[in-house]
């Protein structure tokens, strides 16, 4: 039936209900398990095959040789499109996806993340 004000009931009903929205910076929603966020790398496992570099659609990933059979992974988060194809391409399990999504930066240089390969297990990404 056509009449004006069809939404009256829903609108009045909602006024007393909990809002569907969330005050974002104070309350964060959980990401799904398969969420493709920031790419993490375990450079110690890298063998330097560069399959990830070859498949990356946006040329965001670079493998630097830092020593004899030692490589480190460098990812430009500003270029990365978060398709996680590199994680699929890598045969050695170097690259993995994390649920981290708040990656905005004021300084473009901070987008470059290097996962150093010092040979020790306590590797943490250093930010230039």
């Amino acid at each position: 039936m056509r009449k004006p004000g069809k939404m009256l009931k829903l609108a009045l009903g909602s006024a007393g209900k909990k809002p569907a929205t969330v005050p974002y910076p104070y309350k964060k929603l959980a990401m799904p398990d398969r969420f493709r966020g920031k790419i993490a790398a375990d450079s110690a496992k890298c063998i330097g095959c560069k399959l990830c570099m070859r498949d990356c659609p946006s040329a965001a990933i670079t493998i630097n040789k830092v020593g004899e059979k030692r490589f480190e992974v460098e990812i430009d988060l500003g270029k990365c499109i978060y398709c996680a194809q590199c994680c699929d391409s890598c045969n050695k399990g170097v690259l993995s996806i994390t649920p981290e999504y708040e990656l905005a930066q004021l300084d473009k240089k901070k987008f470059k993340v290097i996962y150093p390969n010092a040979g020790s297990p306590e590797d943490t990404p250093k930010e230039p």
Binding site: D76, G78, K108, K109, F111, K112
Partner: protein, 159 residues
């Protein structure tokens, strides 16, 4: 594949020059190569007698010496006939199909802008998709096209 065979038969019967130039790729996909002199009559025949009323799009090709256009025609029952026409790159002139398919307007303008076709009979209008001040003779989709440094307007910051 009976319908596709039928279409091939009636086409070759109508246009002797098409003998051996129609290829059936799989069910509902057919390809044909047509001379620029015939293509209008062929398209007209296909539309009026064979029911190819939908022009899905037109693809321009750079084939080295020549430029090609593929008219992707489709019928209501899903059979698609891709008619390829080849013209020399030195004189890429082809007649417009907007009289038969009014929807071809933007597709033809795209060919003009990106591959440098000269479409005869195309009504005047805005260009598409390049900017109004795009220089003459720059056709980005040609294989030998290189970005002219003078065209770079946006600055990409060194990171």
């Amino acid at each position: 594949m009976a319908k596709e065979e039928e279409i091939r038969e009636s086409l070759t019967k109508q246009f002797g020059a098409l003998e051996g130039k129609i290829r059936i790729q799989r069910a509902r996909r057919m390809w044909a190569e047509v001379e620029p002199s015939d293509f209008e009559t062929v398209l007209d025949y296909l539309r009026k007698s064979q029911g190819f009323v939908i022009l899905c799009t037109m693809t321009g090709l750079d084939k080295g010496e020549n430029l090609g256009i593929i008219y992707h025609l489709a019928r209501e029952d899903g059979i698609m006939l891709n008619v390829e026409v080849t013209v020399p790159k030195t004189n890429p002139v082809i007649k417009t199909v907007t009289a038969v398919f009014p929807g071809a307007d933007h597709y033809e303008r795209e060919l003009v802008d990106l591959l440098g076709f000269k479409i005869e009979g195309l009504a005047p209008g805005f260009r598409y998709p390049l900017t109004d001040d795009w220089p003459e003779g720059q056709y980005p989709l040609r294989k030998d096209w290189k970005l002219d440094p003078s065209l770079k307007t946006g600055k990409i910051e060194e990171s």
